[in-house]
């Protein structure tokens, strides 16, 4: 037998008349329309799709090398400080906003156009192919990539019938042949092309869903202390990012009380794992639609990996830290300040920084410094924290007095503007430095009153998000996966059988047997190493079913 798939020529295959290579196109003299067509064909060719895919991959890389404004603006600022010469140049070509840059957008927009230009004609072709009959049996089966001939001792019509039955049994779609024709043509595996179209359409769907999520979605971040209740709304969040097409009034209004936060850290394992977070979950009481007709409050647990779903938004527990509860009294013992103050963790040991502002004192007082959940003294940097949990918590503060808000300027609650303030000094002239443990109350030098660390509670960093593109993106992703499975898993094959009464051949055995020559040939789409075996099996089964003994294996002769 000879199934010379390894010849020098590229084997013939089932191919749609789809532009796979357009470089040969385009005559020397093209009008405007001609040029437009030429450009369109270039753009929708496989070659271009391939090039754009590679380009997209390449273009995504800088965003993983340089910090991105959309991901981590603080690191971008630091990069500017560290590389004052280089950064502006990188910024000019969008290296800090790669995924929002025009050049990145132009690549994926071209890819989308190419995708549409590719799907539309292919869908039409496929639709027609599915309704059309399999093609006529080619005149010379010997030219197909896989073929095999035998001479059988059987009646030609029986062989044809057996061939049709065999292919039908294998669920091939058969061509209705004219009466008396001794050829069978069958095709199978249309789902491959359907899968291809579903996949490419779904990829388009995912892109559109993601875009819709960006346009119509929003997210807000907010810090909530244990026991505190927040009510959502456009002004409730510490930061709020609205998509370009979002009306702030559409943000649902509900209240959320953070009842409790449970945070635990690795205390056993040593090395890099020591102090890593291990448990992080919270309990919240939620009441929906508080501005309209409030629902009954419900209490739910939530955690990292387990967000709350409230009024079409998702509430994620993302960060946590400590809020020391501080009381400041004046010299007469009158309370000037009493609140839990949010301190922001700076590293994995939760060494935190924060500011306590007491505008009610005269002059106003400002405390700035650190909260250390597990106090340790480092010979070089002084007091620091060695473990993120509350083993030996302490506040370490410097004290300033003067004007807290010079010229009424607005300020962050996490920083102290000391421009119009003076550091409070001890009698010996050195700056006051307070170290306060829970339960301690320290007198401030110079009869300025006292400060007390009552206790320490935790705060949780919540993110509230509404993303209408999320579910469509998921559905399209599922469809893409399904389409991919079909496109890569299904084999599209044509199988042809031709039966000829071998009248002219001398009877080699001389026993008067009926000599019928049968050729089975297969045509694959793409790579199909299993086709040889299929042709082999089909041939053998037909031979057996038609009751014919193989007289000669033509290809061996």
């Amino acid at each position: 037998m000879s199934t010379d798939r390894g010849g020098t020529q590229a084997p013939e295959r089932i191919e749609p008349s789809y532009p796979k290579d357009r470089t040969t196109l385009g005559g020397p003299r093209l009008g405007a329309v001609g040029w437009a067509r030429w450009v369109w064909r270039q753009l929708t060719s496989m070659r271009t799709a391939l090039f754009l895919l590679l380009l997209l991959a390449l273009a995504a890389i800088p965003g993983s090398i340089f910090p991105q404004r959309g991901v981590d603006p603080v690191r971008v600022r630091r990069f500017f400080e560290d590389n004052p010469d280089l950064a502006p140049w990188l910024d000019r070509v969008g290296m800090f906003d790669v995924y929002a840059s025009p050049w990145f957008a132009s690549i994926y927009l071209l890819l989308m156009v190419s995708l549409v230009g590719c799907i539309v004609p292919r869908s039409r072709q496929h639709w027609e192919a599915m309704r059309a009959q399999p093609p006529r049996t080619p005149a010379r089966l010997g030219r197909l990539p896989v073929h095999r001939s035998v001479v059988l001792d059987a009646a030609p019509d029986d062989v044809v019938a057996a061939a049709r039955a065999e292919l039908r049994r294998r669920r091939y779609r058969l061509r209705a042949e004219e009466d008396g024709a001794r050829t069978v043509s069958g095709e199978k595996g249309y789902l491959k092309e359907s899968g291809n179209l579903v996949f490419h359409l779904a990829v388009l769907g995912v892109i559109v869903s993601v875009a819709a999520g960006h346009l119509f979605g929003w997210r807000g971040e907010i810090i909530v202390k244990e026991g505190e209740t927040v009510t959502t709304g456009p002004s409730a969040f510490d930061t709020l990012h609205l998509g370009p097409l979002v009306d702030p009034d559409d943000i649902p209004v509900y209240s959320l009380q953070l009842n409790d936060l449970d945070v635990q850290f690795e205390a056993e394992a040593q090395g890099a794992q020591f102090g890593q977070p291990r448990v992080f979950r919270g309990v919240a009481t939620v009441q929906e639609d508080v501005s309209g007709s409030p629902s009954a409050p419900r209490t739910e647990e939530f955690a990292v990996n387990d967000p709350l779903g409230i009024s079409g938004t998702s509430v994620f527990l993302l960060g946590n830290g400590y809020a020391p509860v501080v009381n400041v009294r004046d010299a007469d013992g009158q309370i000037l300040f009493s609140d839990a103050v949010t301190f922001l963790p700076q590293d994995n040991t939760y060494s935190s920084e924060g500011v306590i502002k007491v505008p009610g004192a005269d002059p106003a007082l400002g405390f700035v410094g650190g909260f250390l959940p597990t106090l340790t003294f480092d010979p070089e940097i002084g007091p620091t924290s060695s473990f993120p949990d509350l083993v030996d918590p302490a506040l370490v503060l410097a004290v300033f007095e003067g004007d807290l808000y010079p010229e009424g300027r607005a300020q962050s609650v996490f920083s102290l503007d000391t421009e119009s303030m003076d550091q409070v000094l001890q009698d010996d002239g050195t700056p006051v430095s307070l170290l306060i443990r829970p339960g301690d109350e320290l007198e401030l030098a110079g009869d300025r009153g006292s400060i007390e660390l009552e206790t320490v509670i935790r705060w949780g960093g919540l993110m509230v998000r509404h993303d209408p593109g999320r579910i469509p993106a998921l559905v399209f992703s599922g469809a893409a996966l399904l389409g991919l499975g079909l496109m890569l898993g299904v084999r599209r094959r044509r199988v042809f059988v031709r039966v000829t009464p071998a009248t002219g051949t001398p009877d080699p055995a001389g026993d008067g047997a009926r000599h019928t020559e049968m050729t089975v040939a297969g045509l694959p789409k793409g790579t199909d190493p299993g086709l040889d075996e299929l042709v082999e099996q089909v041939l053998e089964r037909i031979a057996t079913a038609s009751g014919g003994r193989v007289v000669t294996d033509k290809d061996d002769s």
Partner: protein
């Protein structure tokens, strides 16, 4: 809770596997050399008769198995078989080491880079071993054992992390789903890259008409290329699934399904490059050689994702577990 006995046993199994694999590597290399030197005359004769033999289907002769009695002395398979048996042994050791690691911390052992590598190598070796039971794959052994040994060695020497519990962001059923499938597809891409390399080398020699030495022990270039493609079309949907499952998990853990975190970016880059490979292969005008280079570029991206991105780039996915 961490069970130290299991953790220590796991470490011993992995060291043992590295040693056994190194010996297997030697055995497989000798196998290639022996088979190549015996086959050479026959291979040359076969070349003269192309395409009959080269293109023959059902391909035992094609798959590198000794065949056609009477034409040439059948090369000794002893070295290859020894290599294969050692590989089976190492497979058991790596799987046991990975399982013990999981037992020692009572969780799925995929919490850091070290464990990720153990899982990947387990898959590489299991897939190869299973394949070798069904078909003669002695010639492939060296190409598989080499990356397995390199991965394990790097994991042991540079990425070793003490057994411990997970951080909360990793404590999710999606860890099991997303990362298990990721390791499986990385394993298949690794095998795919091994075959791609074999194809490029063999094909280069075939072009020059200079198939000598150990190269003669490999199957024909065309067959190698088909196997390369066959592995990639299994690995690619798995990687697509990894991407989707990762997005679902990111949505739950961080509140957004896609944020161009370095790890996410590289997962996407890998996906796009392999999609380009599949396209290249279907594009007339792109030779299979050139397409195969695209597949190797995809594997290079996997290696970068595994090393540079895990260790050097700052992002939410900073759980390599390796202290800097």
């Amino acid at each position: 809770m961490t069970n130290t006995t299991y953790a220590v046993a796991s470490d011993y199994f992995i060291w043992a596997a590295i040693i056994v694999l190194a010996v297997a590597m030697v055995a497989f290399s000798v196998h290639l050399a022996v088979t190549g030197s015996v086959r050479q005359p026959r291979a040359l004769r076969a070349d003269a008769r192309t395409p009959v033999t080269v293109g023959a289907p059902g391909g035992d002769a094609d798959d590198g198995a000794p065949a056609v009695p009477g034409r040439a002395p059948t090369p000794s398979r002893r070295w290859g078989v020894v290599g294969l048996q050692l590989t089976w042994l190492a497979t058991l050791a790596v799987v046991a080491g990975t399982a013990l690691r999981g037992l020692s911390v009572s969780r799925w052992p995929l919490g850091n880079m070290y464990e990720f590598t153990l899982f990947t190598v387990s898959f590489v070796l299991v897939v190869y071993s299973a394949w070798s039971l069904r078909q003669d794959r002695l010639w492939l052994g060296a190409f598989v054992v080499l990356p397995a040994v390199v991965f394990l060695g790097a994991a042991k020497l540079s990425w070793y992390t003490e057994a411990s519990q997970l951080m909360p962001a990793l404590d999710s059923i999606w860890l099991v789903i997303h990362v298990t499938v990721a390791t499986l597809s990385v394993a298949l891409f690794t095998l795919g890259a091994a075959l791609a390399t074999a194809y490029l080398v063999k094909d280069g020699a075939e072009r020059k008409g200079d198939v000598t030495g150990w190269l003669a022990a490999l199957p024909a270039g065309r067959r190698l290329e088909q196997m390369t493609y066959g592995l990639h079309i299994v690995a690619f949907p798995l990687w697509t699934f990894t991407l989707i499952a990762g997005a679902i998990w990111a949505e739950q853990a961080w509140g957004r399904y896609w944020g161009w975190d370095p790890k996410e970016t590289w997962t996407f880059v890998i996906w796009a490059v392999y999609a380009a490979y599949l396209h290249a292969r279907a594009t007339t005008g792109w030779s299979t050689r050139r397409s195969t280079w695209v597949a190797l570029a995809g594997f290079a991206a996997i290696i970068i994702n595994y090393t540079v991105v895990n260790l050097l780039m700052t992002g939410l996915h900073s759980y390599s577990g390796v202290s800097s």
